[in-house]
């Protein structure tokens, strides 16, 4: 793989615990990320895997600076973006795209699919006029395998898989350098899941973006990702290329995660081992 697009050093993050906030004063903070260091190589798909509470989603949001870390460095394309404010981040946003888990809440219900895809194009002046934005939006729709007529539809008229395609179209339309995919197939049926992953692999081959793919499901990661970071309770347990990670997992937790996946084949005793 080529150079690192992201170089993360000693990343710390804590968030206010609103459930335990006293009536007056500030909420206590919970530590989410405990000093993570890793790199995201350019042009590859990096899987970030962990169970609930591992901090994988927060890590993703911190990478694209929707969250601000307490300490540490996030060097993106040679520049530390860990401490930048919203104003300074704005020009970088074009290259830091995100696809969300829940396709039902990530698309504004009162905007058409066309408007949803076109608005970042206009905001970042990738397109200067409405007509140009429309053309680019239609092109993005075609790329994700949706007919152009979908531009006039509203999100609630679409199935879950179709909505997720719209989410992908919105992200790729800007031709960003980095895309964060946050559990994007976990709400889908197996057949839509397979379609969406096939689409991602096809787009990656064509557009050559860098991606971090967050998932709780190791078996999905196996096919899609070039390397995998396994997280547990805010720490990195294992960071290896995918084949090595599955064939020779170094850490017991990685093995536990892998062996907890029920393979679709009959084998007596799998449940007894639990």
């Amino acid at each position: 793989m080529a150079d690192a697009l992201f170089k993360v050093e000693d990343l710390h993050l804590s968030l206010p615990d609103l459930a335990r906030k006293p009536l007056f004063g500030t909420a206590p903070r919970i530590t989410i990320l405990k000093g993570l260091s890793f790199t995201v190589p350019e042009g590859a798909i990096t899987g970030i895997v962990g169970e609930s509470g591992s901090g994988k989603t927060s890590l993703g949001r911190t990478l694209i600076r929707l969250l601000t870390p307490d300490a540490g460095r996030i060097i993106f394309a040679g520049r530390d973006i860990a401490g930048l404010d919203d104003e300074a981040l704005r020009p970088l946003r074009r290259d830091l795209q995100i696809i969300f888990q829940d396709p039902f809440s990530s698309l504004n219900p009162r905007k058409t699919v066309g408007a949803i895809i076109a608005s970042p194009l206009l905001l970042h002046k990738v397109a200067t006029a409405g007509g140009e934005a429309r053309d680019l939006a239609l092109e993005a729709l075609t790329q994700v395998g949706l007919p152009a007529s979908f531009a006039a539809r509203y999100p609630h008229e679409l199935s879950g898989g179709q909505r997720q395609r719209v989410g992908i179209a919105r992200a790729v339309a800007l031709k960003p350098r980095f895309i964060l995919a946050d559990e994007i197939v976990s709400g889908l049926d197996v057949s839509s899941q397979a379609q969406i992953l096939a689409l991602l692999m096809e787009l990656r081959a064509r557009m050559n973006f860098t991606m971090a793919f967050i998932s709780h499901d190791l078996s999905v990661v196996r096919r899609l990702c070039d390397r995998v970071i396994v997280m547990r309770k805010g720490e990195i347990v294992e960071d290896a290329d995918t084949v090595t990670l599955f064939d020779k997992p170094q850490h017991a937790y990685t093995r536990l995660l892998r062996d907890s996946i029920p393979l679709p084949e009959v084998s007596d005793g799998w449940l007894q081992d639990a």
């Binding site: 074009r94 009162r110 408007a115 905001l123």
Partner: protein, 282 residues
């Protein structure tokens, strides 16, 4: 690209019946000077307390009878629609804009902004509203403008509370996070992404508020704290009719019916809109 489709109304009977009455009410108010059969202020003591046209002893030309000073009830009823409509729109919009803006800000930004605005709302709602409006109007001098200001100052909290809750709910949606990831500023996110999703709730509340404004104006003119006596209002007509209910019931009953139907129509219109909006919202 089409902007957000805000209204997709398939009118049910609730919606079009109330809409019909409100249109009728608005037209009567706008064209009152042209359509009144008599001057609503012209007194003729010889024609006092004439009954409506279907009761024995009536005079032709006075469809709903006259009051104790001989003024035509129908003409007064129509001309009283004017201040009612004026207050409904003025007070409704003023309360709506003030309350919605504060509600959007509190719900979207949260934190101390939300705490300050929410505390003010709590304190505000502890005052008895009618008493407060009477005090306010008395202080501001009785006039239609004072009535509008009083209603707006008291009722913005209704909008603020509902809009804040709706905004907080929308705030948690990923599409808002997505707008941030896109690099949209907070204000633009609020206006372009969140507001269209909160608007249906605002419109429904606005309709209800207009009905409330009509009632409050009637209460204030009933206690003589609204417009001067040379403009008929439903409230002042009810106040006058109360004294002579045994001799001339119609002076009391017709403005009450007009008031009742108008307020009912506003609230039903709001409910009807809510039914229409809901499947789109959720």
């Amino acid at each position: 690209m089409a902007e957000a489709r805000v209204i997709r109304v398939k009118a049910g009977p609730r919606l079009w019946l109330s809409g019909l009455w409100l249109t009728f009410f608005a037209l009567a108010a706008i064209f009152a000077p042209l359509i009144v059969p008599h001057d609503p202020l012209a007194q003729d003591l010889m024609l006092g307390k004439l009954p409506p046209a279907w009761v024995a002893g009536h005079e032709p030309g006075y469809l709903l009878g006259t009051d104790s000073l001989g003024r035509d009830v129908l003409s007064r009823l129509i001309s009283a629609a004017r201040p009612a409509l004026f207050v409904a729109i003025g007070a409704g919009l003023a309360a709506c804009i003030l309350g919605s803006v504060l509600g959007l800000i509190a719900g979207f930004f949260g934190g101390w902004t939300d705490r300050v605005i929410s505390r003010i709302v709590d304190i505000w709602m502890a005052f008895p509203p009618v008493l407060l409006s009477i005090l306010l109007v008395a202080f501001l001098n009785p006039s239609l403008q004072s009535v509008i200001i009083a209603i707006a100052i008291i009722d913005w909290t209704r909008f603020c509370r509902v809009v804040r809750a709706e905004t907080m709910q929308q705030r948690r949606m990923d599409y808002v996070e997505s707008a941030r990831a896109m690099g949209l500023s907070s204000i633009a996110t609020l206006a372009r992404e969140v507001l269209p999703n909160v608007l249906p709730a605002i419109i429904v509340l606005l309709s209800l508020e207009m009905g409330i404004a009509v009632i409050v104006e009637a209460i204030l003119s009933y206690v003589n704290l609204s417009v001067s006596t040379d403009q008929a209002t439903w409230g002042s007509m009810i106040a006058e009719g109360r004294g002579i209910i045994y001799q001339a019931w119609w002076v009391l009953v017709f403005p009450m019916i007009a008031l009742f139907l108008t307020v009912l129509a506003f609230s039903q219109f709001g409910e009807g809109l809510k039914e229409r909006f809901d499947p789109v919202l959720r």
